[in-house]
C-alpha cells in the first residue's frame, strides 16, 4: 500500500469495513508512514467526537403541532404544492423539447417532397420556394429571357 491507496481506504478503516487482509496492509503502511498514521488518528478522533455530540431531541408537544397541521389540511396543501411543482417542471420540459423540435426542423434542409399527409409546414414552405425557383429558371431557358 502507498499513501494514495491510503486515502481510498482510511474511511473504511475508521468505520471497520476493511477485510482482515486489507486491514493488515493498512496498519502495516501506517506503521511505516508517520503522516498517514497521524491522519488516521486524527480522523478517528474526529469521528469519536462527532459520535459524542449531544443528540438533540424534538421539543415537547411536537406530535400535537404536526397532527394539528395535518388535520387542518396542511398535508393536502403540501401534496398540491408538490403536484403543481411537478406539473410546472413537466410544462417547462415540454416547452424545451418543442423548441428543440422546431429549431431542428427549421435548420434541417428538406430532402423529400412533402405529402399532404406528412411533412411539416416549414418543410412545405421550403419545397414551395424551391419549386418556384426551379420553375423560374426553366422558364428562362425556354423563353431565353
Amino acid at each position: 500500500m502507498n499513501c494514495k491507496n491510503f486515502c481510498n481506504q482510511v474511511s473504511a478503516y475508521i468505520d471497520g469495513l476493511l477485510t482482515p487482509a486489507e486491514k493488515e496492509l493498512f496498519e502495516k503502511h501506517c506503521a511505516s508512514c508517520a503522516g498517514c498514521a497521524k491522519e488516521t488518528a486524527e480522523l478517528k478522533n474526529l469521528r469519536l467526537s462527532l459520535l459524542s455530540l449531544k443528540k438533540m431531541p424534538a421539543r415537547a408537544g411536537f406530535e400535537t403541532s404536526v397532527m394539528a397541521k395535518i388535520e387542518s389540511g396542511a398535508g393536502l396543501a403540501s401534496f398540491f404544492e408538490t403536484f403543481f411543482r411537478a406539473a410546472k417542471a413537466a410544462v417547462l420540459v415540454s416547452l424545451v423539447v418543442f423548441g428543440i423540435i422546431i429549431a431542428f426542423d427549421y435548420f434541417t434542409p428538406a430532402v423529400a417532397q412533402p405529402t399532404a399527409s406528412g411533412g411539416s409546414i416549414a418543410a412545405l414552405n421550403r419545397y414551395v420556394l424551391q419549386s418556384a425557383a426551379v420553375n423560374m429558371s426553366n422558364e428562362k431557358l425556354v423563353t431565353g429571357r
Partner: protein
C-alpha cells in the same frame, strides 16, 4: 407494539393515530438530522414538522420497497436542502443560535492518538463549535457526515437515502471528514 409496515398500512387507511405513533418513533432522529444540518432550533423544528406533514401527504405513494425510515430520512434530507436554499436567500445568521466561544481545544483531542469515546466527549462550547463547523461544509458533505458520524447509519443505508453508490459514500465521507478537520484546525489557529 406494531411494526412500521403495520403502522404505515393503517396510516394509508387514514388512521391518524397510527401516523402519530410513527411521528413519536422518529421525531427525535428527524429533528437531530435537521439540527445537525442547520444548527438552528427553530429552523430544525420547522423542517421536522414539514417532513412529517409531507410524509403523511405522500404516504399513499410510498410503495414499501424500502424501509419506512429510509423513505422518511430521504424526505428529511430533501427538506434540509430546501431549507438551506431558503436560508441562503434570507441570509440568516448562524450566530443567532451558536456561540463562538471555545474553552477546550478540539485540536488537542484530535491529536490524541489514544483518544477513546470518553476522552472525545467535548464540552458544550466545543460541541457548538463543531456543529457550526459542520454547517460550513458543502451540502452533500454536511449530510453524509451527519448520517454517518452523528446518526451512525451504515454505508448501505446512506447510499439508499442519498441515492448514490456505496463507493461514492466512502469517497464523500473521506472528503467530508478531511474538510471538517481542516475547518476545525483553522478555527483553532485563530
Amino acid at each position: 407494539m406494531l411494526s412500521d409496515s403495520e403502522l404505515v398500512r393503517f396510516s394509508k387507511d387514514g388512521r391518524l393515530e397510527a401516523f402519530e405513533s410513527l411521528i413519536t418513533k422518529y421525531k427525535d432522529r428527524v429533528y437531530n438530522i435537521a439540527f445537525s444540518f442547520c444548527a438552528n432550533a427553530a429552523e430544525s423544528d420547522d423542517i421536522a414538522q414539514s417532513v412529517f406533514v409531507k410524509a403523511y401527504a405522500n404516504i399513499g405513494s410510498f410503495e414499501e420497497k424500502a424501509a419506512f425510515s429510509t423513505w422518511l430520512y430521504r424526505i428529511t434530507v430533501n427538506e434540509c436542502y430546501t431549507a438551506l436554499k431558503k436560508r441562503r436567500t434570507n441570509v440568516l445568521s448562524l450566530d443567532a443560535e451558536i456561540s463562538n466561544a471555545e474553552d477546550i481545544s478540539l485540536a488537542d483531542i484530535l491529536a490524541d492518538a489514544k483518544a477513546d469515546i470518553e476522552k472525545a466527549m467535548v464540552s458544550s462550547e466545543t460541541q457548538n463549535m463543531m456543529r457550526k463547523s459542520i454547517t460550513e461544509l458543502p451540502d452533500k458533505y454536511r449530510i453524509i457526515l451527519t448520517l454517518r458520524d452523528i446518526e451512525d447509519m451504515s454505508y448501505e443505508e446512506i447510499s439508499r437515502i442519498m441515492k448514490i453508490s456505496q463507493d461514492k459514500v466512502k469517497v464523500w465521507l473521506f472528503r467530508a471528514r478531511n474538510k471538517l478537520k481542516q475547518i476545525i484546525e483553522k478555527k483553532e489557529r485563530k
